[in-house]
Subunit: 131 residues, 2 copies
């Protein structure tokens, strides 16, 4: 199996607080994002914290997709780590729309390749993507 | 709740193939790593793939800890993403020892802070840490 993977570290700001606090809605969104990226889900876990936020992870055939939310701040931190032929940028677009984010930052990291872990040129911080 | 977090993206090479293929052992190691970092586990999921590798995620009060392994390549990709007062570098040391890695690379990324997502200076790629 090929070890090469692409990891998108995404930060979403100005999101809909109600969506960020709803585990079922977030899980549905993660599933939709995984499907858009062409990934296959093998496990799904979500957890709602007493202090408002939600965490969720989809284990994928191709690695994982995770979210941590802070509804009171309108903020979510999301990771799309996929190996093989997936297109994680499509998952990013689904999350951007689904969370109704006003602003996003994305750091793209190549992992498991012959040159080791690498931040993509042009994806150095900050890398705001305005919707 | 504070959104600021520290994310260690770790790559371990030259690991013990038997350990990398053993879901129970990997889960125990993740739990040990989380404890060393001072994190609290709320959910644990592991999955063994037909094609040898194992994936596992611990959802933490403080975000997550994930692993993806390629036993046939002696390679594991691990993420420690923690908010608050955790010490993820301690989790890294537990994994480095527990996987019997010959070599590791670590990228340290600050997330959720006022300046946005940031790769730590001095932690730019490649950043090999020889055991």
């Amino acid at each position: 199996m090929e070890t090469t993977g692409r990891h998108l570290l995404c930060e979403y700001h100005g999101c809909d607080a109600q969506i960020l606090g709803d585990p079922a809605r977030l899980e549905a969104l993660l599933q939709q994002a995984a499907a858009a990226a062409g990934a296959t889900v093998v496990h799904s876990v979500t957890h709602r914290f007493a202090a408002l936020g939600v965490s969720g992870v989809l284990l994928l055939e191709e690695s994982h997709l995770s979210i941590h939310t802070w509804p009171e701040r309108g903020y979510a931190a999301v990771d799309f780590y996929t190996c093989g032929a997936c297109q994680p940028q499509r998952a990013h677009q689904v999350m951007l729309d689904g969370l109704r984010a006003e602003r996003a930052e994305v750091l793209v990291v190549d992992r498991g390749g012959p040159e080791g872990i690498r931040v993509r040129p042009g994806a150095q911080n900050p890398n705001p993507i305005l919707k």
